[in-house]
């Protein structure tokens, strides 16, 4: 009996020994396949939800935000009553039931989208029905609470959360933070075991962008542009407001614009931020820079007088005329050439300064090259290479045969307003890491000095004369403040052939306020006004005046002059 028990125990002991030796072997010399299998058994994946960073204005008001949304999918093979489910879902989601029935009827598919980016209430309502074969995926939805305001500037996202236009595109990398998965150990019920708090330390939110834009100023600008388009039956309008000292963009708009919440449904030509992407011949607003070139080269003083040939001046085989037949001046001072916007006077100045110096001056003021603004799609404009024939020099001196963007013109005026330094315009004031609180503030960048302080002061004084009693820019005045600026009424080039379109103009006013210590540079361009008037002084001047008045009042700038002065 005893021997039998011994044998049985010995056998069991031997088997236990084998198991123990094997266990020890596996512990000491782990097998890769078994290790992977164990990991699968004890590990689970936790999704760390990413959220795109917000965009706010200079005062911290929200312009673009992301919220969690829920996307519904279905597995048609698991659905018990596909037709009934499709009809019920269509009713709940406000969709056509036929499309859903067709989706669910495909026996090959194991995954079909039912609806994307639904809110939590809709998800709870559908989830409460506990329908087998329906599932949810968490996604982020981008919201633009200001709707139509600054649509072309902000841009919008594609269906996979990638920036497609505007700032959403140019700052896509910084704003975006990709969703990540993290492997953690799990318990028997599949719940993740939190051991070292790693999940909570992970931050996946993109950077928050604080813009230089002022939401109120933007609203005023867009409202005024819309009103101008309606009043003058124009094709479109553009406007830019810059901080005169730094070239920070305070407002930028074109109308018609669009609502970025429905960005994908809008035709592509409406999505353009035209102040940066579109080129045009600026017309008389460029005379300022021909005169600035004369000042730079020491060829003229504000009081120097030029013969203006009674309104007709032959250059090569062409006759240069003033804008109106009644403008048959015989001679004008430089101040008057600018104030009355004389084509012949500007031509005479350009001839005296010379094509190479005029071109150099225009190039220094930023024409013909990108300003370097942090917005997508910026164009460089066209500034013809030398040599220029006399007709070409004459035309370019008063803004024909050269193309610029609205931002380029505004920025060049900012250089005159701020004491002679050309700055790089910018729109992002700061980048903020919401988790660490680290803020990176954008420093304004100077490109080059284009005028001495004294020359810029002389230019400002001459531009103030434009809004004087006999100047073309009288309508741009702001009660109580000195305004400097220049009107423009440019013929529109014919896109299909040489020459210009009949009765098609770009009306503009570009200026700065208050002229003695400029804070704002405002550029207004109204494209092809068809009713009432087409002169820059009558179409764009009043828009400038209202905007400047609002901006100064908002900023709390005290008036310099009483209404009687």
């Amino acid at each position: 009996m005893n021997s039998r028990i011994r044998i049985v125990f010995s056998c069991l002991g031997f088997l236990a020994g084998i198991v123990m030796v094997r266990a020890a072997w596996l512990q000491l010399f782990p097998n890769e396949q078994i290790r992977k299998s164990a990991e699968r058994q004890f590990q689970t994946s936790v999704s760390l939800k990413a959220r795109r960073g917000a965009i706010v204005d200079r005062h911290g008001r929200d312009l673009a935000l992301s919220e969690t949304a829920y996307s519904l999918f279905a597995d048609p093979q698991v659905l018990k009553t596909p037709r009934r489910t499709a009809r019920w879902l269509a009713h709940e989601l406000g969709q056509a039931s036929e499309a859903l029935i067709a989706k669910f009827a495909d026996p090959q598919k194991r995954f079909v989208w039912v609806a994307r980016t639904l809110d939590s209430k809709t998800r709870d309502r559908i989830q409460s029905k506990k329908i087998r074969g329906l599932g949810w995926i968490e996604e982020a939805r981008r919201i633009y609470p200001n709707e139509n305001l600054m649509g072309p500037l902000l841009g919008f996202l594609g269906s996979e959360g990638q920036g497609l236009e505007g700032l959403e595109l140019s700052y896509d990398q910084l704003l975006n933070s990709r969703q990540r998965k993290m492997d953690v150990r799990r318990d028997a019920r599949g719940r993740p075991l939190i051991v070292d708090g790693q999940i909570f330390r992970e931050s996946l939110e993109g950077l928050e962008l604080q813009l230089t834009l002022d939401l109120d100023l933007q609203h005023q600008l867009e409202g005024e542009l819309k009103q101008a388009v309606m009043e003058f039956q124009a094709e479109q309008a553009m406007g830019v407001i810059l901080d005169a000292r730094t070239s920070a963009i305070l407002a930028m708009a074109n109308t018609p614009g669009y609502n970025p919440n429905q960005g994908a449904q809008v035709p592509s030509e409406w999505r353009r931020n035209r102040s940066v992407t579109d080129l045009f011949e600026p017309g008389s607003t460029l005379k300022t820079f021909a005169i600035a070139a004369g000042l730079r080269e020491g060829k003229l003083t504000p009081s120097k007088v030029y013969a203006t040939e009674q309104g007709r001046f032959k250059v090569g085989d062409r006759i240069i005329r003033e804008a109106e037949a009644s403008h048959n001046w015989s001679e004008l001072s430089v101040i008057d050439i600018l104030a009355l916007s004389s084509n012949i006077g500007t031509t005479k100045i350009a001839f005296e300064v010379g094509a190479d110096k005029i071109r150099q001056s225009f190039s220094d003021f930023g024409f013909g090259s990108k300003s370097g603004v942090d917005l997508p799609g910026e164009v460089r404009g066209q500034l013809a290479h030398l040599p220029w024939n006399p007709v070409q020099l004459s035309n370019i001196s008063f803004g024909q045969g050269i193309s610029t963007s609205a931002l380029q013109v505004a920025n060049a005026y900012a250089a005159i307003a701020n004491g002679g330094v050309l700055n790089q315009p910018f729109i992002v004031l700061a980048q903020k890491d919401v988790h660490t609180g680290r803020v990176e503030i954008t420093k304004p960048q100077s490109i080059c000095r284009v005028l001495s302080f004294q020359q810029s002061s002389q230019m400002r004084n001459m531009l103030v004369a434009v809004t004087g009693e006999k100047g073309t820019g009288k309508t741009a005045r702001v009660e109580g403040f000195l305004v400097g600026g220049k009107t423009g009424t440019a013929q529109k080039p014919n896109p299909n052939s040489r020459g210009y379109l009949p009765d098609a103009y770009l009306s503009s006013f570009v200026g700065f306020v208050p002229a003695e210590n400029p804070q704002y540079v405002i550029a207004i361009f109204v494209d092809h006004p068809k009713s009432r008037s087409y002169y820059g002084s009558q179409v764009a001047g009043p828009v400038f005046s209202r905007l400047a008045s609002y901006a100064l009042r908002k900023q709390g700038v005290s008036p310099l002059l009483s209404s009687a002065q």
Binding site: S66, L149, H219, R546, P559
Partner: protein
């Protein structure tokens, strides 16, 4: 008496193992609590986000302007509504006893 020493050792070992097991269980419990708190925090932050979006929609300038004009009959500001700030005249403080006269 000579049984006490091994018994004590066994008790110490068993006690230590029980303490380790208890601490591990406690760590797990804390982990679960942390997980559920994390979920609650996430829901709260989502709610906060939703409310801030609603606030941004309600405070957008075009909406505020519309409400001001429709419901409160306010008019759009005009260019002439500028307030001219005059410097305040200097007011001399009244003399008190002990003040020196110039």
């Amino acid at each position: 008496m000579h049984f006490i020493k091994p018994l004590g050792s066994v008790l110490v070992i068993v006690g230590a193992m029980a303490a380790v097991a208890h601490l591990r269980t406690y760590e797990r419990l804390l982990g679960y609590e942390l997980w559920s708190l994390h979920r609650e925090q996430r829901l709260a932050s989502e709610e906060k986000k939703r409310l801030s979006i609603e606030l941004a929609k309600l405070s957008r300038p075009q909406y505020v302007e519309g409400v001001a004009q429709r419901q409160f009959d306010l008019k759009k500001i005009s260019q002439k509504q500028l307030i001219r700030l005059q410097p305040l005249p200097e007011v001399q403080a009244p003399l008190r006893l002990g003040d020196k006269l110039n």
